[in-house]
Structure formats: structure tokens, C-alpha cells
């Protein structure tokens, strides 16, 4: 993979191990829905929408890649130095957007192996939107140990294994010349192994559904371990239709919590075969933070919520927010096994979902 960046490419990115990127993409893949990729100097975002109600977006920051060059003017003025655009992140106009068949991209990336996920048990976790820093030991043991058998199979020196090819995915280089051109993938597994060249058809990006969470004030904000939410979702029968989230305010100050108090977070589902109610107690072990001023109750179609369960498999921490309009925002941290550098290295996946309009 050469460093003399081809200046006529709008986008060139390479990564030595495709597994993590693939895990992020799998998290937002449902059915054969096409994905919109938007490239900026800060990284890539991959969005998939369903029925104009759900928008799933994977954020793949540029430092996840070993090499990331973005040159929006490539098509126009081809002599722009790419290093300059890197030094001024976020200061630019419209991102470059195009649509691709996401299933085909994932199939191509898994040509040399199908291993999923890349979470390492000792990857540091990081909270979203708060300066909250975690107690790492707390993450290792406790309830998550039971709930994350996959993570626990990763040896403690998972990071070292990366360099010795213990369970390594293929290396990949992505490049995109511009509108009307395919997305080009070059992949290689090992030095003497086969190489693959994939050209993935791109389409002109259609405007994606506008789900602006910050339009209305936030009324519920919870941060919890992803395994708690994942286990809850796995309990729910897939025939269920309605998925209701109820948040309750804390007991008034100066009074201890009683068992008769309503739970801080309750999940209710109703389907053909019955209904389920799951309560999350107000325990720091369960709900790391829970901000809620007054009772909140919104319902969503379960088939949309269920799309998040694949991403939850590999996520460590979830931020669950609901705004006044009832729009749900789930942000899932997807930990990398990479050594941490300055800046936010972890990619994340966000699901935004509109509520069911209920009769008042």
C-alpha cells in the first residue's frame, strides 16, 4: 500500500485488519437495504434507513484506518495537497456521498474469512456525551462476564495477538474516484496468499430521512452496559409488535428509595403471545447514569428496535436517549482492540427511531 496518495482519488483508506470495520458495517446491515456512505476529512459515516422511520448510522473515524486520505476537490482541482485537508478537520462543505449495496460490500470484505467482531476484553470503554470515565475492573468482572462469553474467549493479550496474526482478518484498501465510479476494494490476507479486487457499484445518493434528535429537548438520558440491553432484546419474541420504553424520575431528594418506587427504566412489549415487562433497578451497576425529570413513555415498532441487536453483540456501552417528540436515539460504542491514541478511536453506531403515533 503506497503512501504517494493518488491525488485524483476522492477517498483512499486502508486498514490492516478489516474485521473491526466489518463489525461496524454488519451492525447497520439489515436485509438488502442500500447504504449511504458519506466521507469527510474526519472519517466515514455509513447510514441505512428503514421505512423512513429508522436511521442506523455507523461512524468510522479516520484514525480507525491506517491510512485515510480525503480529497473532496479531486474531481475539480487535482493538485490539492491532501495533508492540508487532514489538518483542518470538520472545516469543509458538503461531504462526498454515494450509495452502495451494503450486503455486497460485506460479502467482499469477508472473502478471506468470516470472523466477526473485534472486541477485546481489555479495551477501554468510554462513555458518550459525558465526561464519565469508567472503572475498568468493574467492566471485567461482574454481570458482564456472564453475559459476554464471546468477549471472555479473547485472551487478555488480545492486542499483542493482533501483531502476530493470531486471529487476523484480511487487510483492505478502499478507494473511490468520484461520482459515476465504483468503490474499489483491494484485499490481501497474507503475503503469499491471494489478493482480491472488488468493484462495488455505486449509486447517486438520495436524500436520507432527516431525523434530527436535537430538534427537541431531551427528556430521558440513560447510559448502561450494552449487555443489559442486548439480553433484554434477546428475550423478546420476534413476533412482538410494540416496544415501549418507560422512564421514571428518581425518588424525591432526602428520601431513600423504596421497593414500591416505580423502576427507573421499564421495557414493555406486547405481541400475539403475550406481553413482557422488564425493569431495570436504580443501581449504578445497571444504569450508570439516568437523567429523567418526569415520567416518559414512548412506544416503537419492535421490528425496528430488533435491528439494533446485531450491533449490540459487539458493543460495550449504550447511550439511550429520548427527546420530547419521542424520537429514540441509541448510541452503541464499538470498542477496538487497537492501542489508544489521542482522540476518540472507538467507532460507534447510532440508531434513531421515530415513535408510534399513539392516540392521546
Amino acid at each position: 500500500m503506497s503512501d504517494d496518495g493518488e491525488v485524483d482519488q476522492v477517498l483512499a483508506a486502508s486498514v490492516g485488519d478489516v474485521k473491526y470495520v466489518m463489525g461496524l458495517l454488519r451492525g447497520v446491515q439489515f436485509g438488502s437495504n442500500r447504504a449511504t456512505i458519506r466521507a469527510t476529512s474526519g472519517g466515514l459515516s455509513v447510514s441505512v434507513e428503514d421505512a423512513r422511520t429508522l436511521l442506523a448510522t455507523a461512524f468510522i473515524f479516520k484514525n480507525i484506518f491506517d491510512e485515510y486520505l480525503y480529497n473532496p476537490e479531486a474531481g475539480l482541482a487535482s493538485q490539492d495537497q491532501p495533508s492540508q485537508s487532514q489538518s483542518q478537520p470538520q472545516e469543509e462543505g458538503e461531504p462526498t456521498a454515494f450509495e452502495i449495496p451494503l450486503a455486497a460490500l460485506i460479502e467482499c470484505m469477508s472473502l478471506f474469512g468470516n470472523t466477526m467482531g473485534s472486541s477485546s476484553s481489555n479495551a477501554k470503554q468510554r462513555a458518550l456525551h459525558t465526561g464519565h470515565s469508567d472503572d475498568e475492573d468493574n467492566q471485567e468482572g461482574g454481570p458482564s462476564a456472564r453475559a459476554n462469553p464471546r468477549q471472555n474467549t479473547v485472551p487478555a493479550n488480545g492486542r499483542i495477538d493482533q501483531y502476530f496474526g493470531g486471529d487476523k482478518g484480511a487487510g483492505v484498501r478502499l478507494s473511490y474516484v468520484g461520482a459515476g465510479h465504483p468503490l474499489l476494494l483491494l484485499m490481501a490476507e497474507e503475503v503469499h496468499g491471494p489478493t482480491a479486487t472488488c468493484e462495488i457499484t455505486t449509486f447517486e445518493a438520495e436524500p436520507i430521512v432527516e431525523l434530527d434528535f436535537l430538534e427537541a429537548p431531551t427528556v430521558l438520558k440513560i447510559i448502561l452496559k450494552s449487555s443489559w440491553l442486548r439480553d433484554a432484546l434477546s428475550e423478546i419474541d420476534s413476533n412482538c409488535d410494540k416496544f415501549t420504553i418507560i422512564g421514571n424520575p428518581p425518588p424525591p431528594p432526602g428520601r431513600a428509595a423504596r421497593s414500591t418506587d416505580p423502576p427507573r427504566l421499564r421495557i414493555q412489549t406486547a405481541g400475539n403471545f403475550g406481553s413482557i415487562e422488564m425493569d431495570y433497578p436504580s443501581d449504578k451497576e445497571v444504569l450508570e447514569t439516568c437523567e429523567c425529570e418526569q415520567q416518559v413513555r414512548f412506544s416503537y415498532r419492535f421490528k425496528f428496535i430488533a435491528h439494533a441487536s446485531k450491533a449490540l453483540q459487539h458493543s460495550t456501552k449504550t447511550s439511550l436517549r429520548i427527546n420530547e417528540e419521542g424520537m429514540l436515539s441509541l448510541q452503541l460504542i464499538m470498542p477496538t482492540a487497537r492501542p489508544r491514541q489521542a482522540g476518540n478511536t472507538d467507532g460507534f453506531i447510532e440508531f434513531r427511531c421515530l415513535p408510534i403515533d399513539e392516540d392521546p
Binding site: E107, C108, L111, P194, T195, A196, C198
Partner: protein
């Protein structure tokens, strides 16, 4: 007509039968004094893939006796699954699950029971506790006439453009398997004379080329009566020649990865691909399964 032999290398015979079983329901087996031939050439098979194999008698059998009125050759039509089932119980157990220890003695005979011809497999083995076990499989066979079999002809092919030694089939198979959802009906197989072999797949969503480099191109002895031999050196070695083949045919061929050590592919552009799957080392000349996969002409 008499036939009897000890099967010395049951494991290999079993692997061959497995490879053939996935291909066709019935096959033709020809025993001569020095070789065993297994032929699958029904057009009923999907993609009309054909197999012509030759296995040297000493590489599979000992105490091999054959006698017939047709120059000591015997032609049989056999159901492939029955053959594989008989050999399966004779094959040395793999891992912990086998009930017998590996030193089974297997004798195959051509017999006639109530006017029906059978290949009788007699297996004398012992359990892991050392108790003797005797298993007999009778596989019903049709005795074929020599005239019928002599009408079976290997497909005629032009002189191939490229000969190349393929990477280990298990690896090719793993890639081909994952290529399938991206391939639709056909997969392209391409090679050049500089050690490059490619699998290509294409759909509306994506087009994929998987390339292996640094393979070797064996030199073949040319038939001096054809002119192609002279042209060979003039052609550009970088040019890729290829055929489009049915995905299912390719997968059936790749099932033979269990027996293969070395595989040589010969590409006859726009005609067919011929694949020689060697069992054991090439130098031993133990046996070869020859697959013909016809090209799909667009």
C-alpha cells in the same frame, strides 16, 4: 470372470468414492490388469462435468487378481453412494468416533448371488477392545459389455492455452464458497503463463477478482503433430486465458479437495477447463482424477 483384491489403502479409495459420489449417482468402473478407471460422464449431471480417473493398481490394492474373456478387463456400473457407504465402514476411523482400530483388512471380490452380480467387500477389523469384527457389504453392480464401454470416449479438447498448478484446493474452495453470493450462476477461471490464477465473479452489485500469484506453470510435452507447440513461445505470457463455468460444477470439482495433493488446471479458452487432481505425490504416479468442466459461452 474373476476379480479379487485386498484394498490396502482404504482411506484413499474412500476419498475417491466421496469425490465421485457428490458428482453422480452411478459411475462406470473399469478394472484392467494394471489400472482401475472410474468414469463419470452422464450428461444428467448438472453442468455436465465429467470425471475420468486412472489409479495404478499397486497404489490401492495388493494380491490383485483379475481374469476375464475380454483381455482380462472387467467393466462395471456401480451406484456411487453404495460404493462410498461400503468403503466408509472399511475406512480407518477418524478421531475418537470410530468404533474400530485402524488395522482393518479389506477384501473385495466380484461375486454372483442368486444370479445378481455383486462387489462384495469383506472387512475384518477389531474393536478398540481387541475383539474381532467382520463386516460384509454387497454392492450390486451391472456387468457392462466391452462394446458399450468402448463407446465412452474422453472429451476431445483443443490444446490448452495455459497449464498452471493450482493453489491448495481447500483454500480455493474456501474462497469459491464465499464468492458464491457474489457470483450468480457463473464463475470465471482465468490463468496466464506467469503463474497467475484468478477466480472472477460478477453481479449487478459488484465485480470481484481473486488472484493468486507466484504459481508455477508446468511444461507439458506437446503433441508434435499440432502446430500449437510452435506458437506457444510467441504468445505473451501475461495474457490471461479463461473460461466461465457453472458455479455448481466448480463446487463439485472442489469437493475433491479431500484427495488432492497437486492439481494442474489446463484452460482451453472458450471451450473447457481440464483439471488433473493428483492423489499422493506426482512422482509416485499413484493416480489422477481428471475433471472436465465445459465452458459456458455467453
Amino acid at each position: 470372470m474373476r476379480f479379487r483384491a485386498n484394498i490396502e489403502d482404504v482411506a484413499t479409495f474412500y476419498k475417491i468414492s466421496q469425490a465421485v459420489e457428490k458428482l453422480q449417482k452411478r459411475c462406470t468402473v473399469k478394472f484392467t490388469e494394471s489400472e482401475m478407471h472410474i468414469i463419470c460422464n452422464n450428461d444428467a449431471g448438472e453442468g455436465s462435468i465429467q470425471v475420468w480417473s486412472q489409479i495404478q493398481v499397486p497404489s490401492l490394492f495388493t494380491e490383485y487378481r483379475i481374469q476375464s474373456n475380454a483381455d482380462n478387463e472387467i467393466y462395471l456400473g456401480v451406484a456411487t453412494d453404495a460404493l462410498a457407504a461400503a468403503l466408509k465402514s472399511a475406512a480407518a476411523p477418524s478421531g475418537q468416533q470410530g468404533a474400530f482400530s485402524g488395522d482393518a483388512e479389506v477384501i473385495v471380490r466380484l461375486v454372483k448371488r442368486t444370479e445378481v452380480a455383486m462387489l462384495s467387500f469383506e472387512i475384518n477389523a477389531s474393536t478398540r477392545l481387541g475383539r474381532p469384527v467382520r463386516i460384509a457389504h454387497d454392492v450390486r453392480v451391472d456387468i457392462l459389455k466391452r462394446e458399450d464401454v468402448s463407446r465412452l470416449k474422453q472429451p476431445m479438447c483443443p490444446e490448452p492455452e495455459v497449464h498452471i498448478i493450482l493453489p491448495p484446493l481447500a483454500k480455493v474452495r474456501a474462497v469459491a464458497e464465499r464468492l458464491r453470493p457474489l457470483a450468480g450462476e457463473m464463475i470465471g477461471m482465468y490463468a496466464n503463463r506467469e503463474g497467475c490464477f484468478q477466480l472472477r465473479a460478477q453481479t449487478d452489485a459488484a465485480s470481484v477478482v481473486v488472484s493468486w500469484h507466484g504459481l508455477s506453470n508446468p511444461r507439458m510435452a506437446h503433441d508434435p503433430s499440432t502446430q500449437r507447440a510452435d506458437e506457444d513461445d510467441e504468445r505473451d505470457p501475461k495474457v490471461l486465458y479463461g473460461v466461465l463455468v457453472n458455479v455448481k460444477s466448480l463446487q463439485k470439482f472442489l469437493n475433491s479437495h479431500v484427495v488432492s495433493t497437486t492439481t494442474i488446471a489446463c484452460i482451453c479458452q472458450n471451450h473447457c477447463i481440464i483439471l488433473y487432481v493428483y492423489m499422493g505425490e506426482i512422482a509416485d504416479a499413484g493416480g489422477v482424477l481428471t475433471f472436465y468442466i465445459p465452458a459456458i459461452i455467453e
